[in-house]
Symmetry: C2
Amino acid sequence: MQNFTFSNPTKIIFGKAVVAKLGPEAAKAGKKALFVYGGGSIKKNGVYDVLTGALAKEGITVVEHHGVKPNPVLSHVRSGIKKARENNCGLVVAAGGGSVIDEAKAIAAGAKYTGDVWDFFCGKAGIREALPIFTALTLPATGSEMNSGCVVTNEGTAQKFSAQGAPLFPRVSVLDPETTMTLPKAQVANGAVDSIAHLIEGYFTTKDADAAVTDEIVHALARSVIASTERILKDPSDYNARASMMWSATLALNGLASCGYGGMNFINHAIEHALSALYDIAHGAGLAIVMPAWFKHHLKTDGPARLEKFGAGVFGTRTAGETIKAFEAFFRKAGAPVRLSGAGIPAADIPRIAENALGLIRMWGMKHEQPEIEKILGYAK
Amino acid sequence: MQNFTFSNPTKIIFGKAVVAKLGPEAAKAGKKALFVYGGGSIKKNGVYDVLTGALAKEGITVVEHHGVKPNPVLSHVRSGIKKARENNCGLVVAAGGGSVIDEAKAIAAGAKYTGDVWDFFCGKAGIREALPIFTALTLPATGSEMNSGCVVTNEGTAQKFSAQGAPLFPRVSVLDPETTMTLPKAQVANGAVDSIAHLIEGYFTTKDADAAVTDEIVHALARSVIASTERILKDPSDYNARASMMWSATLALNGLASCGYGGMNFINHAIEHALSALYDIAHGAGLAIVMPAWFKHHLKTDGPARLEKFGAGVFGTRTAGETIKAFEAFFRKAGAPVRLSGAGIPAADIPRIAENALGLIRMWGMKHEQPEIEKILGYAK
């Protein structure tokens, strides 16, 4: 077990009818908020009315910044920063899924920075301060509601890059599982796949395979994601399944699931970011394609031990091959594609995808070359 | 799954040679520290030298307050408060196990309170502020290094009571598994039993048996505690086992293992506190006696469902009876007593123990009467 630091200051308020509780929490940070949201699903599920009402009740003036895309884009982040500055916003409130929260984080950091916000994503600058961030999560998947990272796509360069910094931890996030009841089936699947992806990156690329407690936690969260998703697919109105899914997704990327692993790498994410950047497909869908392919590669390069352990703890399988099949079966059952063809991506594009992925692989300091990435993607044909 | 709030601001620095890192962290809070420790084991395992050196290096003056007892007593807490006030200490640094940290917390709160510190324990006052607390943990068991509670025994009234409040979260705790390598076998056992006890209280007294993700986390941590303990018993110098044990014990009572359970009660702890208060036995030893007895009672009053689920997830057992036997077998294997007689406590004392336990049961607002507590203790004969 490698040394680690665990520090996560985000306060989570979880359960039924908690969205309005964000009002008094946000009021502690200021009286003028940039209110970030996406395409309007929060108007359909009631979150918009409840949240704006709660903010107004606390005397918080709101400047709206909506239209965040599922893969949030740099131009929209920049316009949000401009709006936050022009209106002297003292805090950022985000309502939506991981994309909305990620964009809100980028805006919060960018508003306090004299340079260009992309500097944080391409490694030119670190995030030293940010406007206080408050979130109402409506789509369990990315864990952004309780971590210090964010991902933004630069449309100009087709780069989907990430930035990280302690000031990006939301002060408070409210998680009401009832707001997830109306999610389309595809978003349920993508959220489940994304959560699994967060759990496996550390587990399978750990520099220390004897962090037994963290292995147990990863198994526990993966079991929970899978069981909850199966319940949700059977009965979308199953509140307790929605709740377990929502909390599992948060815990999958709040730092807990990688304690003691030492170095880990986000190889599946790096490859997927290329798919999202080039084809604008959902992050979860892209991951469902990349992960099985990468497992097959991992089995050849690293042997069966971790796949066997994960399979025994999560699926009840015995061999590495059975574990990979169980992953695929789960992704398929959830409705995610598991091959490039399933997302309409031609195999002939593999070199181009690999080349794009290398940008992020270099940025993240990982040691992979184009032939290896092409080889991995070859398993996804 | 019931509504919950999760908020835990404690920063954990974990691993080899991390004790010295407490110096720079503590220096952020002040330059004069009350340094709380126990009977001197930290002088033997090197923590005393490393920590005082690190504090001195940061220019922090230290006022020593040592001699904390395994069940920390009110008179010693009061003398610590006096010392902290007389010396204008701006922070409290604790090095040791849960008892040392608990006493440090009580002192930190008492030093900022005009009334008597016992007010916090008997429900006469809430903890609104405390001196900043920094801890170096050397005995994994109570979770006090990452929570907001503390337990103190009033020798005058033979009451072992608890207090809680957000200001009691340590700012920073350093956890070096190597400092636990020299623990006597009995303390290894007590720590393991205490961690299991923290995990089972919520799990078995939950008001909501469909918080599936939290059930999975409880299973994961219990499996980790048990597996780590068995490795430690085999090879006390097994660093990774020490590390998994240490982090598991922290996570067992940092709030994570009860999310969504709604109301829970600490019935096993309430009864054990009576044993500790009356016989000054180790908390873990007392719990190993109380838990199997309480499980037998729970099986009669609440049926087999939870025992079966826990057993299947942790021990691989099938029936409630087998689960109880597996608990007992683990406690025995660790070297803990599992009956009153094993700790030299006569069965004739049961009414007296039950009466003492009722004090805390009332304080904690639990609905149990003397005959029920006697019945439970009857299983521990």
